[in-house]
Symmetry: D2
Subunit: 342 residues, 4 copies
């Protein structure tokens, strides 16, 4: 049997670990052949393939990125996308497809599997940890580790210079990275997209922190938004700047804090540093086990499924479940962490 | 209300994070006073205390070790141990006790709570991850990360010199560190205490690895034991050596591999490096949440309980459950990982 | 004999290592007493002191920041600054002063020593490595290491997404951090303050890099400035933004590259992350040896001197030499490194 | 013109950085062709070559090991070794040879160049930093960094458990790694091969350290040897053990300390972990500059030379100088560091 493998969407540490596990177990235990598709669904539509055998996956476990390449091509939006996929698979005699990706990639896999009879297995991937149906996704632990290390380093400067340090981390729709790295790094304020923040409250925490010890560290998710009256998006200098996603809220907030508290504030924008480089041991373990279980789904002909983490077990859930809703930070959890603010 | 806190047993990254969370929430939300006991149960028996308030826990989150000190003193084995504990607590008006420790420490807390009416809450701690009733214990992720980084580095040398590299990691009774770091580090053989290993099989994997690519890396838990016929404990040079725990099985195995395969072999014994230093972000998150929930147990007067991780939730389990049996590596999981051997 | 110690200027990993070495050797070998002054020259002017003995310096070697605090207070610009310093030193019977700091701090020490008969010894400190008379300053190696690790991580994302990644690193007047981290991280363009850059040339390198392999990484020092015609400082959105120092040139350059090449570009601003946290082994070694030799200067009554690194030796140079001119990147060295551009 | 490149001797982080720099500059600036020889001198003698052009050196800068492979084959000891080298070079039209290696490799290059008219340029390589004529060799900073990080981690355990921790680091003939990592890690005793140590003195330091604060950390180079009366090499259990190089002196010393002071002692043997993995930023900078200057030697037809570091400059020295004598730790420097013992 020949099995196709693709990786779609943004970069994420652990993709190569999944690919390696799928191929190692598939070849050694089940005698499968593999076809790698280049750059996600684009490669499937265009029949653009990569050799994928045991030598090809040697040494890739600790490497970030993906040996298959990735893209955001969506066959549901491409002309004859589905038909071209079926033609490629038929032409190459690919009998099953393992799609490793985030919401978009898995959504396509779900539709292909449920509506078009293409036998798909999904492996969830998002650095933001915002996919339902799994406790964690790989890449998240690595990102949190990098952000935490940065926050650790900033404490010394905060101590010595009495400046507010604002750290902008990834998370456009969910605050998981901000919450975990902020807690682990001992931040004094953590702002997430799930709850609009009140700049006055932030300034009150900043001021009380200065009184209690030294300068505060504020961790803010890139998608965090102030309350209506705060008008961040109407800020002209920001608008003309263009890159709202990357340097928006952190810079804006630092300026507001300076204006309102009279304290100097500085911003660090970690950006893509969070999603590159070697995966943490946790992510390698998780990604590898996802890969081992994904190929077992293929062997069991259990298609339309996604592998997921539940506690310490890898389970199988319907592909559709994974993409039904975004997994955001529960208000109760945010409140639990709030004991460290100020 | 006054709450006592102690840490018992071996060193473990994350202990300070628990203490900080307990005190921060206890003081700020519930208005409790705290008394720290020095060096575990010894401090309680002898009334040896440490100041424990918010200034005392400032800045300790990223630090390894424990500001309270630790010891292996067991009051159940000490003369009038229980009576002296009760006297200390009464004298200091300590109304509840949070015991952070491994099997031994928690066992004492369970007995105190269940049989002697001392209101105890337990927080599980073991770098070996071998406590039942919780998915993970803090310290484990840090240890696995350190061991994985070491294995990563050894790959370059293995590649260049065609030598077998044996890495001995912690784990006297359970193979969790070996299993996780071995998998994450791409080891070619992983040996754990749960399953006696066959030196001939190890040598077969070593030989096949040399054929397939470059020199193999063998990860062995310090408690791994060869099959009977292999007579490791009867080895004279080992016996006269004395330090079986530290340099035993790794060195022995390297010599056996050299003898049987004719390939050069070298050993690295990571030792205490695995249990020191700053905790990983994962461990800081887990330890902090354990602390927050432990103090909630006190507020709820829910004694005789231990906090535990289930998926992404912190739950409460009877203290006695935690110590009922050692959590060892399931044979099915070991087999799953075995696809990468050789 | 009583010796005063102060640290002035910006945060820099290794300050504590100097303090520890000075005190350890001064107490143990020469029997000196020490007085720490809080927050640089401010503490000397105001007689604000910190206990400084062997217990006070225990455990500080690996810690960033400075246990003495720092400030940018300049006694030469303060009313009666010099007189107040002399009064404090006389009142406390401080017979010699060790000043650890950058250009400003050492300039004060030089004037005090040469013109006012205050016996000073200087220890050079600048993360930017731009002090003359010494091969390296401590803090620099740590900053370069942090920036290099960030660039390493960005390569994976550059590979997977075909985006230009601009990394803005510290260096307002000298490009040492950009040059070393850019070279070590395999950057495709490195821009330094010493040489005005030509945006068209940068875009040409970017384009040629895309042709040769994958997306380029551009490392730019915060003080790098484009050629006249490029008008960065006249850019309106930047002007209204305010924080030119922190997020200026990196963001501006990314936008220009997008505009001119049609390729997507993203910016990472490492900011204060580069100057915080534990010093590298190299910086601990250098800072410690500086401290040991500074106290030897005191013993030898060799004042008005600064310790400096020459090859592997620590030498003594006149304090005035250190501040005579900024040590900038030699055009020949920049050209040497330029072989890797594009 | 065609230039040959080889790497000889033990593994060392930075080898790939040299190779990349040589090829990048040689191809781009001088239009040379390159031939890589596999496994050091063996490849030259046997005509075993590797393709070496710009694509071949892409992405290798951060990787440990060497893409050319290495061996300890010595053509001076092989039958017709020199003649076979000359034949290979003539057959492949290789007009110059860049030999990257330690004492043995460079010695061959010196002989080939001086006595046999083979145009050679040497690049010094040794993780032990014991080559004369250069301030530092690449690989050393990486090794020191790894050992220092391990020592940092051990401090927490030393604090909590009152155990002596012995760390055995690399260095058979020179104590550079022990000296630098011991100082940077805040060790309480450092033992080097250059000075026979007195176990009684070590025990006195251990005891005094326990009195002053907490448990001591002892860093010992693998080649350190006790004074005659201490008879380490006559120890039977050690002799029968076989692996004196790896686990000898550390284990022996821990046992002696236990015996003589009554304190528990544990050993960590870092082993090959110190020489693998990604090079530090310092080593990448140094190795790259060595490569750039080595190819300049070829262009200048300045053969029989080795590139070397002097301060911040790369200079050229006669190949013979480099191997004339081992660069060991100066007694004065060891004494300087000794202020931290005990």
């Amino acid at each position: 049997m020949r099995v196709g493998v693709l990786t779609g969407g943004g970069d994420c540490p652990g993709l190569n670990a999944v690919i390696r596990a799928v191929v190692r177990k598939g070849v050694q235990e089940y005698g499968y052949d593999f076809t790698g598709f280049r750059d996600g669904w684009r490669g499937v539509m265009e029949g653009d393939t990569v050799r994928l055998d045991i030598p090809a996956v040697r040494g890739i476990l600790p490497r970030g990125g993906t040996i298959l390449g990735s893209s955001r091509t969506n066959p549901l939006k491409a002309e004859n996308g589905i038909r071209r996929i079926k033609e490629t698979l038929a032409g190459l005699e690919v009998a099953a497809l393992i799609a490793i990706g985030g919401e978009d990639t898995l959504c396509v896999a779900a539709r292909l599997s449920d509506e078009h009879g293409v036998p798909c297995v999904g492996v969830p991937k998002t650095i933001d940890n915002d996919l339902s149906a799994t406790d964690y996704t790989f890449g998240f632990d690595t990102a949190v580790g990098i952000a935490t290390e940065a926050i650790d380093r900033l404490h010394t400067t905060a101590e010595s210079h009495m400046r507010v340090l604002v750290v902008e981390v990834m998370g456009r729709h969910a605050g998981w990275i901000a919450l975990h790295s902020g807690l682990a790094g001992g931040a004094n304020v953590i702002l997430i997209p799930e709850q609009r923040f009140d700049v006055e409250q932030v300034c009150a925490w900043v001021t009380s922190r200065f009184r209690a010890s030294y300068a505060p560290i504020v961790v803010v998710a890139e998608g965090a938004v102030p309350k209506d009256g705060d008008m961040v998006l109407k800020d002209q200098s920001l608008d003309s700047f263009g890159h709202v996603r990357l340097s928006g809220v952190g810079e804006w907030l630092a300026k507001e804090i300076e204006k309102r508290t009279g304290k100097e504030a500085r911003t660090t924008v970690l950006g893509h540093v969070q999603r590159g480089g070697t995966p943490s041991a946790f992510d390698r373990w998780l990604a590898t086990r996802f890969g081992l279980h994904a190929i077992d789904c293929v062997r069991d002909r259990d298609f339309g499924r996604m592998v997921a983490l539940r506690g310490t077990d890898i389970v199988r859930v319907p592909l559709a479940d994974a993409t039904a809703r975004l997994k955001t930070v529960d208000p109760a959890l945010y409140k639990e962490v709030g004991v460290f603010f100020g």
